[in-house]
Each structure stands twice: as structure tokens, then as C-alpha cells.
Symmetry: C2
Subunit: 325 residues, 2 copies
């Protein structure tokens, strides 16, 4: 199949977003934002680096590539609208597998009424999936990492470390149980917290960041951008019963720095914390209060984690060490 026929085969029959003017049909796509701000991000997955055919089916690759992007949109408080897909395709990927990859993306896109509006497909040695997403957010209501202020509650959605544990289940060829299947599902088909991020739209001020590289990294990003300290309680960090059952010795490390959970970490004032809890409840998203924001104690903004009554510095990598001074 030549590129032209392929593009035709993936072209949607109808578009769903009312602001779309021109989809896959010309040199570029055209849309008309109706007084809202536009949010955009790109994310790339490479075979052999982010996934392999041993750990993921083609449909999962597509699903996860889009999910990672939707998580970025959620972390901005933005509603997904469109996506562009750029594929580098090696010879050992069949047309059938590419169809499945698009189908996996399409499943997730359908649930948000997103439209595929363009892309590019070229040959290469290894499969690369690069997705650009577009979302809308009410004017001046995008959620930034820089919005945290001392006194804020720190919260996180869902549970941490599951994606890394799911990958371990695949590598370790764990027996298929409810627990292992749950963790593998979290690895292959993460749930971006789009509905929750939309539901907290009424909050006046929220800092948000998505947990793509591990909460230790993301908490530090909020601290740096907002020029504050974050103090987390290790006992409060949420985990699934599955990770506890299968990887009790690894779970702490993976919760802090496992990455790719695509949960949201955020901060909000005490007075609006109830609004956030209500939004989580309405959207069926577990939410946990895991710490607080404080004035920075040193020159450099930092994240501390309290373990057995002792406050330790939490580095981006997830490494902790005893606080000095």
C-alpha cells in the first residue's frame, strides 16, 4: 500500500469537533478556536526504547502513545480536541499491525470525541510514533506547575508505580492473576485523568503536573517552577493492592520514580481542597492528600519526604537522603 492509499485508509469518515474546518485532505489542517486558549504538546515513543513487541501489541502502542499526550493536556486542565500522528515505519511492521496501532489510538480518541486531523508516514529502521495533541482550555485557566503557594495541599490521583510493576510482570513472565493483569493493564493502557482535570475547572487556582517520569521528578518540577518546597508523607503515597502483593520490596522505589503512571500531581489551597475531592468523586478518580507546600527553606526549592518521622531530601531521581542542617 502506498502512502496515499494508507492515508486514505485511516482518514475518518466524519469529524466530531465542531471547531474543525479542514481535516486530512490538504497540506495542513485548519481549526477555529471559539474564544478559548489552545493547548498543544508532542510526545514520541520508539520501539526498543519505550516498548517492544514482546511487551505490547500494536494496538497498545497506539493507545499508550495517545494516552501520554492526553495526560499532558489533562495536566494543563485542557479538553482534548485533535491529534496529528507521525509514524516512522520499518519493514518488519505489517499493514495489519499499523492498522491495529491506529485502532488503539482511535479507541482512546473516541472516548474524548477527538479527531485525527493529519500526519506523516515515512520509512525507517525502527518504529517511532510521534503524536501531537491539541486541546482547548477556558481563557487564562490553563493549569501551570508554577501555581503552587505555601499552605497548599499536595494531592495525587490514582496509585503510583503500577506501570513499572506491570512492565516487571511482563519481563518476569508472572502467572496471569487478577493482580498481574491489573498491573499489565496499567502499563499498556494507562488512563489519562482528563475528566478529573476538567471537573476541577471551577477551582480558582490549581498547580498540576502529570506523573510521566515518577512523582519524585514531578514534585521537584512543581517546587522549582513555583519556587517553594513540597513536603510529602511517604506513608500517604497511594498504591494498589496488586503492587503490594507482587512487588512489596520494589514498590517504594517504583512509586517514587517508576514513571509512566500518567496520574496527576497537584496542589490547591486548603479552602478549595473540598472542590477537588468532590471533582474526583464525581469522575470516579481516586485522590489522595500526600503532603503540603511550604516556603522554601534553602536557596534552592526542594522536595522533602517524611519517613518514620524523619524528613529526607527527595531528589528528582527518587533518591532520598538525610536532610542536612
Amino acid at each position: 500500500m502506498d502512502e496515499f492509499s494508507f492515508i486514505r485508509s485511516i482518514r475518518p469518515n466524519t469529524y466530531r469537533q465542531p471547531t474543525l474546518i479542514k481535516g486530512i485532505d490538504d497540506d495542513a489542517a485548519v481549526f477555529r478556536p471559539m474564544g478559548q486558549d489552545v493547548v498543544t504538546a508532542v510526545d514520541t515513543m520508539v520501539e526498543g526504547v519505550h516498548f517492544s513487541k514482546e511487551t505490547m501489541e500494536a494496538a497498545d502502542v497506539g493507545y499508550r502513545a495517545l494516552a501520554a499526550n492526553l495526560s499532558d493536556l489533562a495536566a494543563m486542565g485542557s479538553r482534548p480536541a485533535f491529534y496529528l500522528v507521525s509514524l516512522v515505519v520499518p519493514d518488519d511492521w505489517s499493514q495489519e499491525e499499523l492498522d491495529q496501532l491506529y485502532k488503539g489510538m482511535g479507541e482512546l480518541a473516541d472516548s474524548y470525541h477527538m479527531d485525527l486531523i493529519g500526519g506523516d508516514t515515512v520509512g525507517g529502521q525502527e518504529l517511532c510514533v510521534s503524536v501531537t495533541v491539541f486541546g482547548y482550555v477556558t481563557k487564562d485557566m490553563a493549569r501551570y506547575r508554577s501555581a503552587a503557594v505555601p499552605g497548599d495541599v499536595v494531592f495525587v490521583t490514582g496509585s503510583l508505580g503500577d506501570s513499572r510493576a506491570g512492565l516487571a510482570c511482563l519481563f518476569d513472565q508472572k502467572e496471569e492473576t487478577e493482580d498481574s493483569l491489573y498491573l499489565i493493564g496499567r502499563h499498556r493502557r494507562p488512563s489519562p485523568r482528563v475528566a478529573f482535570a476538567d471537573a476541577i475547572g471551577a477551582c480558582e487556582r490549581v498547580a498540576l503536573n502529570d506523573v510521566s517520569d515518577g512523582i519524585a521528578n514531578e514534585a521537584n518540577e512543581i517546587a522549582e517552577s513555583s519556587d517553594v518546597d513540597l513536603v510529602l508523607d511517604v506513608d500517604a503515597l497511594p498504591f494498589s493492592k496488586a503492587i503490594q502483593a507482587l512487588y512489596p520490596e520494589k514498590m517504594k522505589e517504583w512509586m517514587l520514580s517508576g514513571g509512566e503512571d500518567f496520574e496527576l500531581i497537584g496542589t490547591v489551597s486548603e479552602s478549595e481542597w473540598a472542590v477537588v475531592q468532590e471533582a474526583a468523586s464525581q469522575t470516579g478518580v481516586p485522590i489522595t492528600r500526600i503532603g503540603k507546600v511550604t516556603e522554601k527553606k534553602k536557596n534552592h526549592p526542594s522536595v522533602y519526604i517524611v519517613e518514620e518521622g524523619v524528613q529526607k531530601l527527595l531528589e528528582k531521581t527518587g533518591y532520598t537522603h538525610m536532610k542536612r542542617g
Copy 2:
């Protein structure tokens, strides 16, 4: 250098587009279109497929990757505003080379006051540069391939086949002359026709397509989208003195299907043809009338080319054959 430090190193110190709200600083970028339509496209270049270190320096790779995208924006009549860059980087690309790649992109971006607003950098086996561009166009004034109507003049900017001839100069290790350097320059650093496309903004109706795969392909795309025939005059097709001097025997083939010239092919009514000529003159872009649009003669829209008084069918691939019936 880790990814974070790298992102910091390429982050612009200041942004130039007044509609940008948030650049490279968070999970995604945010911009606020002021009543204009947004145009977006993605284009990917892969080492070993689209270029090699033998034929292009790192800065040229960056320049050309962005130029290809700007050509898509020009073909929509859109003014460039922002770009996102996704890079897959193999071990044999040094930090210095990556800096040069961004610098090459930056040179072109500067001339249009574009802002780099985000991206993603991951490891891989071969260098892939995927650029997503964003432009603005006045409401309902995007230029589509589907806008051609019978009676229109068909025109093309610049000269055809130069990029392919430039690549040949590199492969053939042609002696460095004014001609060979000109062609190599056209291959490495094509000039997207952004200013010209903007200058014809006053035209009521123009069909536009950019010449990325060869004019035979692009003319057929206009014919199909507009459901008309295009009749081109082979003697009218514009070529440089350099291609004529160095590749006289190959030039016809390369003019029709060489690709990557990033010129614009378009159609406009006879009454507005003078406006297009004036815009070309004002922006210093050579323009040539190369044919006309007619009602389709068969069931399927087609492109014909007149050679020595004989009308032949011109296929997408550039292959011509005698017209039957």
C-alpha cells in the same frame, strides 16, 4: 547532558509571537488565537531516508525540516507562528551536532519571527526530526486544493527539479561551480514561499498546493480535489539555468517528479491573475503561467501535458503516455 538540561539549552530567552501564553516551561504550550483560524501540519525526516551526513550538515537538516513544514503552511495561505520539535537521537549524533540542527531551524524560524514552543527528545537508532508547525490565517481564507475551477490559470513559483539536481550534484561529486552550488543550496536550504502566499491574501479564490513530491503529483492532487482537469504546457515549465547546464538529459524527469522543491503550484481566475503576478513581483518570487484548468473530460479528473502539440496524460509519478480517445 540529560534531557532536562538539553531542553533548557534550547529554550528561547524571549518569545516573539504576541499570542503565545506559555512556551517551553510546562506539560504543554498555550496560545490564544485572536479571531484567526489555526493551521497545523507535521512533517518527519529520517536519516538514511531523507538525508545523510554525506549530503547535509546538521544545520541543513534542521533548516530543511522546518522549511518543509513552512511550505505546507504557505500552501494554506497561512502565516507561520510556532513550532514543536520531536527528535529521536542515536548515539552517533553529538551534542554539538544537535545544537547545530536547532540552530539551522532557528535561522529559518527567526526570519518569520516564529517561536519554538515545545518538543520531545528520545533515544533511538537513527536520527528522526519531526516538526509540527502552527500558523494563522484570516477566517475562511485558507487556500485549498479543492478551489480550482475550469477557466483558471495554473501557475507555479520558482523553478522545478533543482532540489533533485542538487542531490545529484552531491552524489556525483560535481565540481564546485556557481551552478552546482546553486543547486546544492536549493536541495539543502529550500525557500518556502511564505511571503508570496501571504501577499496573495487579497485574492478572492486561489487553489494552492506545495510541490513536495513533484509537480506531476501535486497537479493531480489539485485535479482530484477540485474534480477538474489540468492541462499543462511542458514548454512553459520553469527551470533554472543551472539544471539546464548540468543535467540537460535528466531535467524534464526531475522537473515533473523530482520533488522537494517546496515551490507552490496554484490556480486562480483570469481576472485575478494580475493580482497574483503583482504579489510575486512584490515578494521577489519568480512566477510562471504553466497551463489552465478545464472541465474534466472523463469520469476521473486528470492532468494532461502538451508536448510538441500532443496532449499526453500526466500520471502522479511523472510518467506520461499518449492520451487515448
